[in-house]
């Protein structure tokens, strides 16, 4: 053992110490890296767990609620990078729920529509039967009963019609172009409190054939609302007003008016843009505005209820654009002339207002009864008899004996219907 050995030992020892130090340092670094990775992983796992809890406890319930048409906003993820898959889950969830709802709604609509169609056709048949009985029976007591039945039947028909329209059906009932006054009176026929409706003086504006039934239905719903939401001793006032490019029908009631929420709901429904979900009409179902919205959008008229009536209640305003209007004047009967086959067109019509006394719109001589009848002449049966088969005998008797008339020329008249 000498210096040489000692030196060797020292160097070896030094090398060992250095290696040990190096290893220690490396170990320390590795440990630190591992620890931080473990911590990061732990944090990530926590985030994911938290995000999952957020999904299950907050986001999914909110989504379910919003799919149920409640005004709930679905909150976003807490940490977007952890929730990539969650959004896909939510989208899938929403999609399938929407599809299921849509399917359910469609089948409900289809069922309701066909049911309402059956009710409507029965009610129409009933109306024809009632009309026939009204013509057959002369007893005022019978007439009073028939009128009540008729009134109830008209209301029933309106309900069925409104429900059918809401389910995507057409209003049904093809009609000829009718005077605006008659359209509004037709609407009053279909509501319960028709005696409370005050109508304006006759207007010479008429509604074109295709829009008659929809406008009648819409005005009937507004009149019904007005009468329903005002005290029974007040009247519902209807007024017509000529506008720049159309006609306005105003319906005023003396009720309590509408709250801001009701007005918002009404405006949304009347615009006809919102989804008219038949499952969301409330209980009892409030179909009125929804039906008007559907009709207004489909036929191109506008309805608003956001004006205050001078009587305190609501003023409903129906705007009918020029495209839906025509004149009552007889020479122009666009819809009628097209709609009726020639043999019907030749039938004489009630001479509502003899604007052209000498001639019919077709240029044919018009029947007048101003001169006393030539007693010896043969009485030609007037074509009008075709229309009153039941009153035929009485009519003939009246024609023969009662009146001082000229026999009508045996020329068929043109259609003089307004």
């Amino acid at each position: 053992m000498d210096r040489q050995t000692l030196a060797m030992a020292f160097w070896v020892l030094l090398a060992i110490v250095l290696i040990a130090v190096f290893l220690l340092v490396r170990q320390h670094r590795t440990t630190r890296a591992l620890r931080s990775r473990a911590e990061a992983a732990e944090a990530a796992a926590r985030t994911v767990a938290e995000e999952e809890r957020h999904l299950v406890e907050v986001r999914l319930p909110a989504l379910a609620e919003s799919l149920d048409h409640r005004p709930v906003e679905v909150p976003g993820p807490r940490s977007p990078e952890a929730a990539e898959t969650h959004d896909r889950v939510l989208a899938l969830f929403a999609h399938s729920v929407r599809q299921a709802t849509e399917r359910g709604e469609q089948s409900a609509r289809a069922t309701l529509k066909s049911m309402m169609r059956a009710v409507q056709s029965l009610s129409n048949e009933q109306q024809v039967a009632i009309s026939a009985m009204q013509e057959r029976h002369d007893d005022p007591d019978v007439l009073a009963g028939l009128m009540r039945v008729d009134h109830m039947n008209s209301q029933l028909n309106r309900r069925a019609q409104a429900t059918a329209v809401l389910c995507g059906s057409w209003p049904g009932q093809q009609r000829s172009a009718s005077a605006l006054t008659d359209v509004v009176r037709g609407a009053t026929s279909r509501i319960r409190d028709y005696l409370r409706v005050n109508l304006p003086a006759e207007s010479d504006v008429a509604v074109v054939s295709r829009a008659v039934e929809p406008v009648v239905l819409a005005v009937a719903e507004l009149l019904d609302n007005a009468a329903r939401h005002s005290p029974p001793n007040t009247s519902v006032e209807v007024n017509f007003q000529q506008a720049h490019n159309g006609m306005v029908v105003m319906i005023d009631d003396g009720g309590v008016g509408m709250t801001v929420e009701e007005l918002n709901r009404a405006a949304r429904l009347l615009a006809g843009t919102g989804s008219n979900d038949i499952n969301r009409l409330g209980d009892p179902p409030q179909v009125g505005f929804a039906v008007i919205g559907v009709l207004a959008r489909r036929y191109g008229f506008r309805v608003s209820v956001d004006t205050r009536s001078p009587y305190g209640g609501v003023r409903a305003v129906v705007f009918l654009p020029t495209e839906l209007l025509t004149r009552v004047s007889k020479p122009t009967m666009p819809d009628n002339a097209v709609a009726l086959p020639p043999e019907q067109r030749r039938q004489p019509r009630p001479d509502a207002d003899d604007a052209a006394p000498g001639r019919t719109p077709g240029g044919l001589p018009r029947r007048r009864r101003t001169q006393p009848a030539d007693q010896g002449s043969a009485v030609v049966p007037a074509p009008a008899t075709q229309r009153v088969p039941t009153g035929l005998a009485a009519w003939k008797r009246g024609t023969d004996s009662g009146r001082a008339t000229t026999p009508p020329p045996p020329v068929a008249e043109g259609n003089t219907q307004a």
């Binding site: 109306q127 024809v128 009309s131 009204q134 013509e135 002369d138 007893d139 005022p140 007439l143 009073a144 028939l146 009128m147 009540r148 008729d150 009134h151 008209s154 009932q173 093809q174 009609r175 000829s176 009718s178 005077a179 008659d182 359209v183 009176r185 037709g186 009053t188 026929s189 028709y194 005696l195 006759e202 008659v212 009648v216 009726l340 019907q344 039938q347 009630p350 001479d351 509502a352 207002d353 003899d354 007048r368 009864r369 101003t370 009008a384 229309r387 009153v388 009153g391 009485a394 009519w395 008797r397 009246g398 024609t399 004996s401 009662g402 009146r403 001082a404 008339t405 259609n415 219907q417």
Partner: protein
């Protein structure tokens, strides 16, 4: 469905009479003759205006008026009663019995015709 029915279905009879089925007077039958006695029609309902225009040309029977207005006779009677009450129209009894053709004569003619044919 004829054009008449389509028009008729719109405004129902109870709206035309304001819910009344009983005429205020009982003087009408199907052949009662009606004459307009007033020109002025302001304030009348559309059916009453039409009725007045029909009657202005001369006398007309209740049955004819009902046919022209496409209304049941019973409903027409309610309107006519109102118009008599308000002085718009006057009525005449249809025809005196003396002026009516003799039923016996008619029957004889019928028998004669039957015998020939």
């Amino acid at each position: 469905m004829s054009a008449d029915r389509r028009l008729q279905g719109l405004v129902r009879p109870y709206v035309v009479t304001g819910g009344r089925a009983h005429a205020s007077r009982n003087t009408f039958d199907a052949v009662t003759v009606v004459i307009a006695t007033r020109e002025q029609v302001a304030g009348l309902s559309p059916e009453k205006k039409r009725l007045m225009e029909l009657c202005r040309g001369g006398a007309l029977s209740v049955a004819e008026i009902a046919a022209h207005l496409s209304l049941p006779i019973s409903v027409t009677k309610v309107l006519l009663s109102d118009l008599v009450d308000s002085g718009h129209i006057a009525t005449h009894a249809a025809v005196s019995h003396a002026a009516r053709p003799d039923m016996k004569l008619l029957k004889d003619v019928l028998d004669g015709l039957r015998a020939r044919l």
